[in-house]
Symmetry: none
Amino acid sequence: MSSQYTFIGEYNFVIDSKNRINIPSVFRKQLKKSDKKTFVVTRGVDSCVWIYPLGEWKKIEKELSNLSSLSSASRTFLRNHLRHANIVSYDDQGRIILSKQLIDYANISKDLTIIGVLNKIEIWDKKTLISHDKTSSVNDDYYEELSRKVTV
Amino acid sequence: MSSQYTFIGEYNFVIDSKNRINIPSVFRKQLKKSDKKTFVVTRGVDSCVWIYPLGEWKKIEKELSNLSSLSSASRTFLRNHLRHANIVSYDDQGRIILSKQLIDYANISKDLTIIGVLNKIEIWDKKTLISHDKTSSVNDDYYEELSRKVTV
DNA sequence: AATATAGTGGTTAATTGTGGGTAGTTTTCC
DNA sequence: GGAAAACTACCCACAATTAACCACTATATT
């Protein structure tokens, strides 16, 4: 499964009093018409928020839709992976609204760091990311991410 | 078979004294003209209520009747859940009426949690879901296999 | 210098979720 | 059968949230 998106780089932004966050314009420009200015926002594996362009999310959905509701483990898996996701479109200024649940989950207060990770975008609370960087082995994270993308 | 619906996310609502529950507007907006503001409501396999858009339900009926890939035991199992289905339309405020049988089955009192699961919507009693979350096995082998396979 | 773009902050208007009323219909029970 | 109760299908109302605009500043571009 290959992606046409190449989100890379790191940007510092803020969240405003209405829980709006700006998606960097360089990322927005990569969206296709079929994405309809829409992202799917959900929990990341670490304490961050993951953002997918709609079309990229649809690929994930396709995989998920093969799971049978007859299996109890499948049902639980589906629920747990879908319940934290939101569909959001960005406004004329390029901002999306982040749900309170995700703000809590990612420990977001004011200053954010937005990171492009190929086919998805990560939103981190700035301080949380700094302390996460300190406590986690950079190499482990890097290879873990790679293992998901590349089959060597 | 993939669906055109993308029901995802978790929402907290209440049921009122007339057994009306609101369908989240983000879900309602996805309905097509051919669905005629109508859902099919039935027993979920867990202690919850499953809701399908009318058009989606018709697909399921069709599959059920001619899917030979399912064992006869599976078909019987599914049928026993789906036979409790009833057709409901939502009112001008976006609410449907839930039957007493389904309210009893899903153990619904007042606070609800509504979860989008791709092509269907689950209605849970809030407390029931919380205790279900605790007892559901997310650590069995199959669940872990799913986590590895599906890159969310 | 003038123009355009990006990020941030507000204001206003529309939508959403929830509660209730009522007239008509169906069901229940004696 | 007929009265009482329960249930529908439409209404209206309203607070709170959300979406749609407008405005300002700073940086980049021509």
